[in-house]
């Protein structure tokens, strides 16, 4: 019985399924549903919960048993939903989870009494220490589970209305907004909420004890520092910088290992296979293409470890709380901050992280602007073009130039978020209210499980989408066969023809057809631009990455146009840098946006608007620069 649980409301938007063997050796399916505040759903993830429990979803059978996992440290609020579910007449098991935290708050329970008054089994548990799991397994093996007898006492007036209906859920949905059969009556709904809270309070009067009134409140003690007006932001910034430092520094060790493994693999294939197209396809197409993407796995795992850690402890919501104001300037909420921040490492996990955003509009805008952040795949491009643009920069000036590109990308995020916010504006009833969960000890098991899930998704994509594109690109550069000279071959290949074909389009930006090949081939992944330039300019393999880069740098600085002027003038390099800041150029992102938005519409729109923005910005830089007398 392993499931991903996150201490961040709305995280489990996805269906999570598992199974276990009960005591009779029967296989039982478990479905982990997203958390919710009420059956009266206000967000997509809450709708999933409501629809599955009511059997309204065609893809999921109505559950036989519902296990209500209730936060014992805030049982009253969580019992609001639990009693709603219990009144539907479905057999229920109540698990009072996080009893350790409740204990630190001085709250204890009498599970037997609670079980007696509800008429269903009640289990005390502490899932991070795996307490209570055996009892749950025993209860789930019981075929005689009953529905709860608990009912919120209703006034005559409401009972009279309910007599007309036959469905037990109607008590919750008699006034469900937007439901064809129900009239929505806010006043009644409001009364119903108050009645339910009253009933829950009554229920707990006899079964929970505040044993220690003056108990310490660790969450408040931590927040006094973590949300302090001065130290709070410093701590948050420190943690962010630390995570990014680890992603860039620590990840390089496994990344080098992966790089070396793929290089070794390519060498082995090169040694064992006879020369020919098939060997080239495997080494230059498949191994180089897939390896170029798999190399980002360590960064993604490190990022997900820290996101998981912050989610699980409850700190993530604190960051969202502190950043809410900043995000509200462009019409978003604090919940968008972390997915966008993650996108600086890689937009793919960032876009997946946008699931934590309840508002569909906010989530869509976040997904649309996330690839504008300067992700790590842009780094190789920046690292090649900055020295090409200005060879005599000091390291400090280079860092400044790099930082400038990051600032430009960030400005793009805010600009387009603001534009989309205006364009998609509709009468929105989005709540910015967000729960700040109680801090708890992180479960390394659940974080590990999450990393494994994400890693698997990432690798599966590398084995499918990226593999396919790598093969296609290789073929486009290899056929039709015209010459043994790699440069000649490239010029006359399909890719070369495409480069020539788009030349008129990119000439106003200061690029020639060879750069065009780089742009087209790097459509799958930005860093391919560097390897495309290496192939185009026929750079020999160096001893290590650095010397290859140096050799490539020397080659492109020597490159001449047909009229003898250099190709990579400072202005062309700058224009290219600006182009890469804004351009989409990432198949993985296209694939993940398609998956997350469940349509081709948004990834296509994203390619369109980002490419247009990149072209316009590069055009303005190049033409503007020329007008000002730069070359």
């Amino acid at each position: 019985m392993r499931q991903k649980v996150a201490n961040y409301p709305g995280v489990t938007v996805e269906r999570k399924e598992g199974w276990f063997l009960d005591q009779h050796g029967q296989k039982q399916r478990i479905l982990d549903l997203p958390g919710a505040y009420s059956l009266n759903a206000t967000s997509p993830d809450e709708e999933i919960l409501r629809d599955v429990i009511l059997g309204r979803r065609e893809d999921t059978p109505k559950p036989d048993v519902v296990v209500c996992v209730v936060d014992a440290s805030n049982a009253e609020r969580h019992f609001f939903l639990a009693t709603q579910i219990m009144e539907l007449g479905i057999p229920t098991i109540v698990v009072l989870n996080m009893t350790d935290i409740a204990k630190t708050k001085g709250i204890e329970f009498d599970p037997q009494k609670l079980s007696d008054s509800l008429g269903v089994p009640v289990i005390l548990s502490n899932a991070s220490a795996r307490e209570g799991i055996p009892q749950l397994r025993v209860e789930l093996s019981n075929a005689e589970l009953k529905a709860s007898k608990h009912r919120v006492p209703l006034p005559e007036e409401l009972l009279a209305k309910l007599q007309k209906s036959e469905e037990p859920e109607d008590v919750h949905f008699l006034y469900e907004p937007n439901h064809p059969d129900h009239e929505f009556d806010e006043e009644w709904q409001d009364k119903l909420v108050a009645l339910r809270y009253g009933a829950v309070r009554e229920l707990f009067r006899d079964v929970s004890y505040k044993i220690d009134e003056g108990a310490r409140n660790p969450t408040e003690e931590i927040d006094r520092f973590a949300l302090h007006p001065v130290f709070g932001p410093i701590l948050g910034l420190g943690i962010m910088v630390g995570i990014f430092y680890l992603i860039f520094s620590f990840a390089s060790i496994p990344m080098d290992a992966i790089d070396a493994t793929f290089a070794w693999l390519g060498e082995q294939v090169g040694n064992f296979m006879p020369e020919g197209d098939l060997r080239d396809l495997i080494t230059d197409g498949i191994i180089a293409g897939v390896g170029g993407v798999v190399i980002f796995l360590p960064q993604i795992l490190i990022l997900f470890f820290f996101i998981g850690l912050m989610e699980d402890t409850g700190y993530l919501s604190r960051i969202a709380f502190m950043m809410d104001r900043l995000m509200s300037w462009v019409g978003l909420s604090g919940k968008s901050f972390l997915p966008l921040l993650s996108s600086y490492a890689c937009a793919v996990p960032g876009i997946m992280g946008a699931r934590t955003i309840e508002s569909p509009k906010d989530r869509l805008i976040t997904i649309l602007v996330a690839p504008l952040t300067s992700c790590s795949a842009r780094l190789p491009v920046y690292l090649l073009l900055i020295p090409a643009m200005a060879p005599n920069l000091s390291p400090l000036q280079k860092t400044g130039a790099m930082l400038g590109l990051y600032v430009l990308g960030t400005a793009g995020v805010f600009l387009f978020a603001a534009i989309f916010n205006k364009v998609f504006k509709r009468e929105s009833s989005t709540l910015a209210v967000m729960e700040l969960p109680t801090y708890k000890r992180p479960s390394l098991q659940s974080i590990g499980l999450q990393m494994w899930e994400r890693g698997k998704i990432f690798l599966r994509r590398a084995g499918t989408v990226i593999l396919g594109i790598s093969i296609i690109l290789w073929a486009l550069e290899t056929y039709p066969k015209t010459s043994d000279d790699p440069t000649e071959q490239l010029a006359n290949s399909f890719a070369g023809k495409v480069g020539h074909a788009i030349e008129p389009l990119i000439e106003p930006l200061g690029y020639d057809w060879k750069i065009g090949i780089g742009l087209v081939t790097s459509f799958a992944a930005r860093e391919v631009f560097v390897s495309a330039m290496a192939v185009t300019y026929h750079v020999e393999e160096g001893d290590d990455d650095d010397s290859t880069m140096q050799a490539l740098l020397a080659k492109i600085q020597d490159a001449k146009r047909r009229d003898g002027t250099p190709v990579f003038t400072p202005l062309t390099c700058l224009s290219l840098l600006v182009f890469y800041v804004f351009a989409m150029q990432c198949m993985s992102t296209v694939a993940i946006v398609k998956r997350e938005t469940n349509s081709w519409r948004w990834p296509l729109f994203q390619i369109g608007y980002m490419t247009a923005a990149a072209w316009i910005a590069a055009f303005m830089v190049y033409q503007g620069g020329k007008l000002l007398g730069f070359t």
Partner: protein, 84 residues
């Protein structure tokens, strides 16, 4: 007591002063959701702190901690006197 009860919007409540939820401003959007989160008339409520940038507010209702924007806190009316 009722006569001199002073009501004011939640956004004007000073941090760490315990107040009681009185009502919602007429036409409050999502008032059902607020109620479901535990913001019910008669409930004790307090503002724990402002976010470092001044907005939103962190509030406590029962055992629940919520982040709520000042604009949203505008529509929740609280009072200082305790009936209990």
């Amino acid at each position: 007591m009722i006569a001199d009860r002073q009501t004011f919007p939640l956004r004007d409540l000073k941090p760490n002063v315990i107040a009681v939820v009185h009502d919602f401003v007429e036409g409050t959007r999502n008032r059902i959701r607020f109620a479901e989160l535990g913001l019910l008339p008669g409930r004790e409520i307090q503002v724990l702190r402002k976010a470092p940038l001044g907005d939103p507010l962190e509030i406590q209702v029962g055992e629940t901690l919520l982040s709520i924007r000042k604009r949203e806190a505008e529509s929740i009316v609280v009072s200082l006197d305790h009936e209990s």
